[in-house]
């Protein structure tokens, strides 16, 4: 077991805070992607398409 000395709480809190913020950032970006693609699919289903005629969700 790694010994972190008398200031272990400061070290552990730092690493936990970084992990938490990075996890929130990843979650927020993933959720945003899901929301945007879902809204595009809804628009696609209601017959609103891009001028190019391609599906709005199509990335290729």
């Amino acid at each position: 077991m790694m010994s972190l000395g008398p200031y272990a709480s400061f070290i552990v809190t730092s690493y936990a805070a970084v992990a938490l913020v990075v996890a929130i950032l990843i979650g927020w970006i993933a959720l945003d992607y899901r929301n945007q693609t879902e809204r595009l699919r809804e628009l696609d289903r209601s017959g609103v398409t891009r001028r190019s005629g391609r599906s709005a969700v199509d990335a290729s």
């Binding site: 730092s14 950032l25 609103v48 199509d58």
Partner: protein
């Protein structure tokens, strides 16, 4: 594929779809190696185990400035070259940069308490990084305040370029003013003063966090492009509805006039 090719959002989306899994994989592997090396690093003869905070504090602090640098280049792209993806890149980078800056401030505070005896000191380095964090928040607020993305982009680009003045102030604040913060020990003339046992994990973590930024930034740019597609399609749908209801009203008033 050239920069001009990437001006096409559809091509950019196709590229990110191919790249993102590889970037995410490389980030996870490098982070794992970096964290393992950081765990194995010895205690510092003065700081003891608290030196381990350096392996997350320094990459976040570097990225806080690096992301603003990326946004500044993107802002030039908006104002000078009018690259269609430049403002997408700038807008997508701001929340990520704000997060890294927040983490640099927080981990610095948590490192400062046992080493300096205080969580916060209004010295040049800490204050200039706090200003950077507030500027990130200001930019995000500006993007939200203006509805039209192209108008918001120009205002945000000017603000970003003005804010870039803060970057050399942050970098050289430890040389120009008396501060609790130690002078540069990695990127300095005459080479790093850090021992290899600290330098290697620090550089690994810095590369891993940079890759993390690139991955998150590309994903956030993809989301922003999709958001703009949603916006333009919704406007198209609204104008169709307005046109068809206008045509119906016209028809009805003609019928009333004929009777």
């Amino acid at each position: 594929m050239t920069l001009i090719d990437l001006a096409n959002p559809t091509r950019f989306l196709a590229l990110t779809a191919r790249l993102l899994p590889w970037l995410a994989g490389a980030t996870v592997i490098l982070l794992a190696i970096g964290l393992y090396q950081a765990a194995l690093a010895p205690d510092d003869y003065q700081q003891g185990a608290t030196v381990k905070i350096m392996f997350i504090h320094v990459p976040n602090a570097w990225l806080s400035m690096f992301v603003w640098g990326v946004m500044s280049i993107a802002s030039l792209g908006t104002l000078v070259w009018r690259h269609p993806l430049a403002d997408v890149a700038a807008k997508a980078a701001a929340p990520i940069g704000a997060s890294f800056t927040f983490l640099a401030l927080l981990t610095g505070s948590l490192w400062g308490r046992p080493m300096w005896g205080t969580y916060w000191e209004w010295d040049a380095r800490l204050t200039s990084v706090l200003i950077l964090f507030l500027m990130y928040l200001g930019l995000m607020a500006l993007w939200r305040a203006v509805d039209d993305p192209s108008r918001a982009a120009r205002a945000a680009a000017v603000l970003t370029l003005v804010g870039a003045i803060n970057l050399p102030i942050i970098k050289f604040s430890v040389d120009w003013w008396n501060t609790l913060h130690q002078p540069a020990s990695v990127m300095r003339m005459g080479g790093s003063t850090l021992d290899k046992s600290f330098l290697v994990p620090l550089l690994l973590m810095a590369i891993a966090f940079t890759l993390l930024f690139v991955t998150l930034h590309l994903a956030a740019m993809r989301n922003e492009i999709l958001r703009r597609r949603v916006r333009s399609l919704q406007m198209m749908q609204a104008s169709r509805v307005a046109f068809s209801s206008g045509a119906r009203e016209d028809g009805a008033s003609k019928e009333v006039g004929a009777t």
